[in-house]
């Protein structure tokens, strides 16, 4: 039996891991703000964050391609700063994946922060904890199931994406070709064995991740008590 190239697997894992880290850095403050603000335009931001849930990935990918390309605003900015263009690069993939998976990180975090409520934070303030201290020692630990969901869903969703990557990654083997795209190529080339192996691997991986999330989520909620 002929084993397929492993490069797409490594690129996929590296992309998912990087995206998860970026998602946490961007999603946590955004979710915190959404959970606590009384700003009326909040719903517009929420809708914007949720857009990737309903938008065809090709639409997002198309706009990103234009924005990141040498004539787009982001691409032009990068070039003006002496950097590389972002389209068809790994960095471009990370930007695309982050936007595409944003709702999967922001929504569980926002729900978790909302569930923490005002009272524990007020209690922490009366005990002498400043704003950052309160966030790190009260909000984050009490919202840990939200962080777990955000990380695993963000990771798994990035592993499973196709359209956005294809549009802005360009399917360059060894650089921007991820598993889902590689499977597509294998099918196109009628190499069903390779397509089978990767498809089965992704199926099992996704199932295990989700099962683990639900299990840990249940256990954390039990541990926090009523």
């Amino acid at each position: 039996m002929h084993w397929p190239e492993l490069a797409p697997l490594w690129i996929t894992l590296r992309l998912a891991a990087t995206t998860t880290v970026v998602l946490l850095c961007v999603g946590t403050p955004l979710a915190w703000w959404l959970a606590r603000t009384r700003f009326r335009g909040r719903v517009l931001i929420e809708a914007l964050v949720a857009l990737p849930l309903v938008l065809p990935p090709t639409v997002l990918g198309f706009y990103l391609l234009i924005a990141l390309g040498p004539h787009g605003p982001l691409g032009a900015l990068m070039q003006a700063l002496g950097g590389p263009t972002l389209a068809f690069t790994f960095t471009g993939l990370v930007i695309g994946s982050t936007l595409y998976s944003l709702p999967f990180a922001v929504q569980p975090l926002q729900r978790a922060f909302e569930a923490v409520g005002q009272r524990p934070l007020e209690a922490a303030a009366t005990l002498g904890a400043g704003p950052l201290d309160r966030f790190l020692t009260v909000a984050v630990p009490q919202a840990r199931s939200g962080f777990l969901s955000a990380m695993t869903l963000g990771f798994a969703h990035t592993v499973g994406e196709f359209g956005v990557v294809l549009m802005i990654g360009g399917n360059i083997p060894g650089r921007t070709q991820v598993l889902s795209v590689a499977i597509y190529d294998h099918v196109e080339a009628l190499n069903y064995t390779a397509a089978h192996i990767w498809s089965a691997a992704l199926l099992v991986f996704s199932f295990l991740v989700l099962a683990a999330v639900y299990r840990i989520d249940r256990r954390l909620k039990g541990a926090l008590g009523p």
């Binding site: 009272r119 524990p120 007020e122 209690a123 922490a124 303030a125 009366t126 005990l127 002498g128 904890a129 400043g130 704003p131 201290d133 309160r134 020692t137 009260v138 630990p141 009490q142 840990r144 926090l224 008590g225 009523p226």
Partner: protein
């Protein structure tokens, strides 16, 4: 050295708080009033939890807030302890870690009780390893009080700490709260809508109505003021601070010394020398013009009528002064008129029942 001095104003849709509060440097001040009268809002204003509040809050000689000068200390910089109605323990930390959370952030330059002293006084030393989820309601509140004390507060705020407890839970925690002000050298502000609780714990009382501090004064005086709703209603009565003089084991009664004379109390659980507060319900006091002859009523005091007031269509309230001890008597209007009672008249008060409140 002064306690709390505050002038607070808070406007919310449909509600306005306009509270002026002054407390001595020690002792328990009860904020008493119906739900919705603004007690909790006032407490939150003192704590800095209502950013929209305007006015002035000074504790000791430290300014916590002054809208005139723009000074504002955020909650975490105010030297206060706050006990929430629902305890608000951190569910992700053990009892010991909840306490440590407060201790680590307490200003070490402020005086305050030691951790082992606090856990022992509140009877929670055996609970330290537990999770808050596995505590009873009363235990949770005791931990919350301990946690508040470990911040080394200059002001302790308590927001109906007993309201969410059942009778057994209340009975369990009250003795701990009672002894608080015997060793705590900071002012305590205690919000409650339960008169028995206030009668047990407070030294002073502030009556709140519609967002205003309607009246304030020493508890004993406030409970007996006929112009306030506190002296009306079924539960009305006077409290008397006494000292145990003697315990009669043979009859299972305790004798208490008060300025009015000796008070006999059924039961013998107290020790001589102990300070204790008793409550004499207005409905349990009857009046006689002549000194009583042989009667089964043990507690009787010569007294002078201070003031009279109507209490509903059939009843009248009589405020008495028995050698400096204020008593209330609720009698019928008919007997008031038959006896021809009027202020300054000398009478004898017969007290059918005396209840221990603390």
């Amino acid at each position: 050295m002064s306690g709390v001095q505050a002038t607070m104003r808070l406007d919310r849709p449909g509600f306005r708080l306009q509270g002026d509060l002054e407390t001595p440097p020690t002792g328990v001040t009860a904020l008493f009033g119906r739900s919705g009268s603004g007690k909790t809002s006032l407490l939150r204003c003192l704590a800095g939890l209502e950013p929209a509040m305007t006015g002035r809050v000074t504790v000791g000689d430290v300014c916590w807030q002054d809208s005139a000068t723009g000074c504002f200390l955020p909650t975490h910089k105010r030297a206060l302890g706050y006990v929430f109605q629902d305890a608000a323990l951190f569910p992700h930390l053990s009892v010991a870690d909840n306490l440590a959370y407060a201790r680590r952030r307490a200003g070490s330059e402020r005086p305050g009780p030691r951790a082992d002293e606090v856990t022992e006084r509140l009877g929670i030393a055996h609970l330290l390893e537990r999770s808050p989820a596995h505590l009873s309601g009363g235990e949770r509140q005791r931990v919350a009080v301990a946690r508040a004390l470990l911040t080394r507060p200059r002001l302790l705020l308590m927001d109906e700490p007993l309201a969410s407890l059942d009778q057994a839970g209340k009975a369990e925690i009250l003795p701990y709260l009672e002894q608080l002000h015997t060793w705590l050298a900071v002012p305590v502000i205690y919000v409650s809508h339960a008169l028995e609780e206030v009668a047990r714990l407070a030294d002073r009382l502030v009556l709140m109505e519609d967002g205003r501090c309607h009246a304030h004064g020493p508890l004993v005086e406030m409970l007996a003021r006929l112009d306030l709703p506190l002296s009306h209603g079924e539960a009305a009565g006077a409290v008397v601070d006494t000292v145990v003089s003697e315990v009669d084991e043979a009859y299972a009664v305790t004798y208490l010394d008060s300025p009015a004379g000796r008070i006999t109390l059924p039961g013998h659980t107290l020790a001589p020398g102990q300070r204790t507060r008793v409550r004499i319900a207005a409905r349990d006091v009857s009046l006689m013009l002549a000194p009583p002859g042989a009667t089964s009523v043990l507690n009787r005091f010569p007294a002078r009528i201070v003031e009279l007031a109507e209490d509903g269509p059939a009843q009248a309230l009589v405020k008495l002064d028995a050698h400096g001890v204020v008593l209330l008597a609720r009698i019928t209007r008919k007997s008031r008129d038959q006896l021809g009672l009027h202020p300054d008249m000398a009478v004898h008060a017969l007290v059918k029942s005396v209840a221990l409140v603390g």
